[in-house]
Symmetry: C2
């Protein structure tokens, strides 16, 4: 099994390769990648070695070939349908963030528990009742759940997403949820990120 | 040197210990911590072993003692002053997020380059011109920079923060910045997080 830390680095390589190719470059070395990402060339070559032999010794990598292979490995060569649960302040900001769609992440459904919010149209999405989650996940072929509810409701919402068949969850609520084997959760938590930095400046 | 992945896990332990102690528990075992965090007890014990001997064999850890020690190790036993650069939509949401202050992160200054925004009062903060960054960082004893500017300006803003003496940066712009040795950067990037999950559901 490929270590999770390697899978988490690969999208950084894809982003840099996309930048280099849009500025017209055709070839890149592990040294150039290393300098750009502030990693050692050895670490980059080791990461890539989990997935095959890329590039020619002494000649570097063909950028579009490497980018294409990494996108295929990561499942980034297709679009993915997502749903947001919790249409308060943060949920509305998330559905209006323009960064998702250009990368193939389409937010197709939004849910809330508050009947005053259900039925509202927000960024072109009609908010549905959370009670309709399972059917809506099927109808929209939703594969990703984005959780923007208060901390006290996050675990129950994550349970509902898992029950509805979702295996990939982006969680903005500041808690570590419990999920069954086979479900991947990533947290977006600025406070936790700051708390992992003060060690170095204390 | 303690591996960065260990430092990134410690705030998760602190959060769980804080929860357990606020519900009246006094002792916790590595098995209970492991179950709660969905990690193996061995991994938890290994992480903690970098910092000393905690707990009694077969008796577990005293929660308040362990929490206190981890807070000290992480620098979470004090407050930290932060500044936000870029007072557009995201910057305004960040300064109004109530999660920072209870954890000791005080946003004391905000900066922008747009003279229409400079001088505005947002969440009790008077937005200053980015040209005043270095002096303001000194005056407010700012140790943390939070970057919420467009991608094309992120590197130059990070350079300015580093020049002003900041060594810890939370970056919301979707690029991997370049920083000198001794500066720590953490990214908040929901698209990147999603791109590290599709591997598992493709
Ligand atoms: N990670 C970050 O950067 C960040 C930033 C801001 C807020 N947050 C977190 O995001 C969450 C939401 O914050 P907010 O300011 O938008 O709160 P909010 O109160 O404005 O919105 C929460 C919404 O969730 C809905 N909700 C509650 N329980 C639900 C359920 N069981 N099913 C469906 N919907 C439900 C509510 O009706 C409400 O509309 C909180 O956990 C907060 O800590 C994180
Ligand atoms: N990570 C996330 O969850 C997330 C969500 C939304 C936006 N973003 C990112 O955050 C950034 C800001 O997005 P936004 O929607 O708030 O944009 P915005 O255009 O509303 O705000 C950007 C602000 O930065 C200011 N600015 C530009 N250059 C500056 C400089 N050199 N010094 C100081 N201030 C400067 C502008 O004047 C403006 O007020 C973008 O990079 C965007 O991709 C990230």
């Amino acid at each position: 099994a490929v270590p999770e830390v390697v899978i988490q680095r690969l999208p950084l390589y894809v982003r840099v390769l996309t930048q280099f190719s849009s500025s017209g470059e055709e070839v890149i070395s592990s040294e150039q990648l290393g300098t750009r990402l502030q990693m050692t060339p050895a670490q980059i070559r080791k990461d890539l070695s989990y997935f095959g032999r890329f590039g020619k010794q002494g000649r570097g990598y063909n950028i579009s070939i490497l980018e294409g292979k990494l996108r295929t490995i990561l499942g980034l060569d297709r679009t993915w349908n997502a749903a947001v649960v919790g249409m308060g302040r943060l949920g509305r900001a998330v559905v209006s963030y323009p960064g998702f769609a250009p990368e193939g992440f389409n937010i197709l459904a939004a849910f809330d528990a508050n009947e005053e919010i259900v039925g509202q149209s927000i960024s072109g999405l009609k908010v549905e009742s959370i009670s309709k989650l399972t059917q809506s996940v099927k109808d929209h072929d939703i594969k990703i759940g984005i959780v923007t509810v208060p901390i006290d409701h996050a675990q129950e919402v994550i349970d509902a997403l898992v029950e509805a068949g979702i295996r990939s969850i982006l969680n903005y609520a500041p808690l570590s949820p419990q999920v069954p084997e086979g479900v991947t959760v990533r947290g977006i938590d600025p406070v936790l990120s700051l708390q992992s930095m003060t060690y170095y400046i204390k």
